[in-house]
Symmetry: C2
Subunit: 452 residues, 2 copies
């Protein structure tokens, strides 16, 4: 009796795609499932989030950013075709046409085409010296520009990439101007927290220019960037970094006819199956996902979700029930010695979602006040009025501050109230924490407004 | 119309007592409630946990360990009598006789007599050069001994105080031998984690001597400690530190007739009211509390619980309903660069409580593997077989490891399963975490054994 082997085709070989491939591979033997990955670039499974630190020199070796090479995947029974771009998906025939001239028939398909850096509709964006921070090639291009003598950097945007790039370019000796369309950096946090971040950035010597949407990249006659122009200013630049966020890359999915959600990402169910074509899976930065608290559709480009969603798709393909459980929008970063983190709903989001809410902000230290290295930390908590349910939290502070957001993220995930969190049993030792951890202090203050 | 003023008497002016006093004060005006604290020592509200670091020199000033002075409390309307020892409680008459010759009548009473360092029944314990690490005076005595030329320290016990004292004495240039009755340090953790700690201590140059209950403190003719003798060895010492744990100090409570629980601590309800005499409150290291998971009675001497329990007592006295929500046994410490933490049930405790359980241990790094300062971290998770409910967790690793226990403590507190925690949304940034936080990796591996 002949045994037929199914084929899984994965389009895109980064976090989501390779997680799906690896999980499906783990659950089904090679005789039962062939796994083929098509990746348009030279690398698979690399850390886009690490690129700033390769530019900054904290990471000396490009290869260190590659979690697993194609050879490693091949050794595990996953066929990886790098430099092969998927050009079209024929959903009816179950086939993918690729840039290598071949057509890949599939029994299961995972679309993991990733994200696309946001590009404002302004002149000059294609000038030499304007860079994204998305692919490893971006990293080597920026490193080359610095090596070639770039001195004046302008970073567009004050989100995670903006902050990280500001830090590393400053460390590399460039002057750094961060140009914001918003009044403050880190628009995912409330204004009072953004003000703390802004003040810290300025004290590090970063020139923050708020409320100035970019109108034009001024280009010299040599085709190189010369300056960034806003309505009121022109900021000289020989290096411009785009840190304006990531949108979903869905060109291929749209052309194939896969349903697209309100956020612009591929519309998928909790199993990562396309809602319009359930036989197709999609995962990672290219999909629309949902918020754990509000249930609303959102797009979040982040490696953690990409990994988990890919793993869910691979599990289902492998025959094991799985579902993605949603996102809280937890995120963290650092700029210099300042750590910044958030989770759940910020004030604006809580308002938009119709929550009657309260906020409390406390200031404390990361360690016992008398222990060396105790640094200021501010914790803000947003709760639902009446129930005291935790809705969101934000942290800004010195080293040791950022990862404390995980306690709040876990509490929100579990549906805890501020009062419950205030009573919980967190660890204490003077080198690691004050007697009351700052998270407990914040929860206690937030619960007090409910209990009187 | 005459208004009568109630009087609250608090016996013991450290974490639990002063929290009770402050909370009651906050809730009731001075015309309604007089608050009087009797403290046998010279200080109130000091950090016993900080004493090792004052000895080690990380904290230069004794006063830095004092959170609030008697004068600060007085300014807030709390009368503090230092150097006044409560000598007897007359429960029927509602009076406390004190060493100042006065009798303090009370309407409300909080017993917060604290803990007592465990002292093994061996000869020589009162020799010069044998120290506890409990009161600020212990700290100055040990500092004086070092200044006077002590070179060879023997630390009895390998718990939190034992580890911390080993670290700071080593840092002060003494040779340090840690003598354990148990096979491994940190008996609150499983053996495999204890082995990691033991190996790290040895590599720091700490001489760890396991399985050797102490039989005698050998004393010279000058009355000074000379050595610590076990069944098989004699360890030369000119300084001996007792790190054998803390028991409840209940002499006063016993003599008064307050009910004592099976653990030896004062038997209290969730409101911190004495079960035998509900008109009396007790809080802190002198009471018996209960485990959040098993509901069983336990005694835990730790400032975090003392603070919270005192606050509960003060709230109830102040007219606001409150209850203590139990302990998970969360704790953390560091020895050198090694951070150690635990929460919930260890394997032995899970067995004793009758749980059919599983354990999983994973190894990861504290930051993205390619980022400078990424250190090894081991996370062990104990789950209930079948349900996957989280029962306990332990962490041993480099800087940045220990406080991750709080995520696990919160998840256990909320009654989450390993699978739920594995799906949760924790923060990621290369300088702060790998893509999958080590806690998530551990939860995922632990959930896999349930889901197949």
């Amino acid at each position: 009796m002949a045994v037929s082997t199914d084929r899984l085709v994965v389009i895109g070989g980064d976090a989501a795609g390779m997680s799906a491939a690896a999980q499906a591979r783990r659950l089904r033997p090679t005789a039962d499932l062939e796994v083929v990955v098509l990746e348009q670039g030279p690398d698979v499974s690399y850390s886009a989030c690490g690129i700033p630190y390769w530019i900054g020199g904290q990471v000396s070796d490009r290869d260190a950013l590659i979690a697993r090479t194609p050879e490693r995947f091949e050794a595990d029974g996953i066929t990886v075709h790098t430099h092969v771009r998927a050009e079209a998906i024929d959903l009816e025939a179950g086939k993918v046409s690729a840039s290598d001239g071949r057509t890949y028939g599939y029994d299961s398909l995972v679309v993991a085409t990733g994200g696309r850096p946001a590009r404002p509709p302004i002149p000059g964006l294609d000038a030499e010296g304007v860079f994204g921070v998305h692919r490893l090639a971006d990293g080597s291009d920026i490193r080359a520009a610095i090596a070639a003598g770039a001195k004046k950097a302008v970073v567009l945007g004050g989100g995670y990439i903006g902050l990280e790039m500001a830090e590393v370019l400053l460390a590399r000796g460039l002057s750094v101007t961060v140009v914001l369309a918003d009044p403050l950096p880190m628009a995912q946090l409330d204004d009072d927290m953004g003000e703390r971040i802004c003040a810290a950035m300025c004290s590090m010597g970063i020139d923050v220019q708020p409320n100035q949407p970019v109108r034009e990249i001024e280009v010299g006659t040599d085709g190189r960037v010369r300056a960034v122009r806003t309505d009121t200013n022109s900021f000289a630049a020989d290096l411009v970094v785009l840190g304006l966020g990531m949108g979903p890359e869905t060109t291929l999915a749209r052309e194939a006819g896969l349903g697209i959600g309100v956020t612009g990402g591929i519309d998928v169910a909790h199993t990562q199956r396309s809602r319009s074509h359930p036989e197709v899976f999609a995962a990672g930065d290219c999909v629309q996902t949902f918020h754990r608290i509000t249930g609303e559709a959102i797009h979040v480009a982040l490696g953690t979700h990409a990994n988990k969603q890919g793993r869910v798709a691979g599990s289902v393909i492998g025959g094991r029930p799985a579902r993605f459980a949603g996102v809280l929008g937890t995120a963290a970063t650092k700029v210099g010695d300042l750590e910044v983190a958030r989770t759940g709903l910020c004030t604006t989001q809580a308002e938009q979602a119709g929550f009657d809410h309260r906020t409390e902000t406390i200031e404390a230290t990361t360690r016992a006040g008398y222990y060396p290295g105790a640094e200021p930390i501010a914790v803000k908590i947003i709760t639902e009025r009446g129930s005291g349910l935790l809705l969101g939290a934000q942290i800004v502070g010195g080293p040791g501050s950022g990862k404390r957001i995980d306690v709040l993220a876990t509490a929100i995930w579990a549906g805890m109230t501020a009062e419950e969190l205030a009573g919980s049993d967190l660890s204490y030792a003077p080198p690691l924490s004050p007697t009351y951890d700052p998270v407990i202090v914040a929860a206690r203050v937030a619960s007090r407004i409910e209990t009187g």
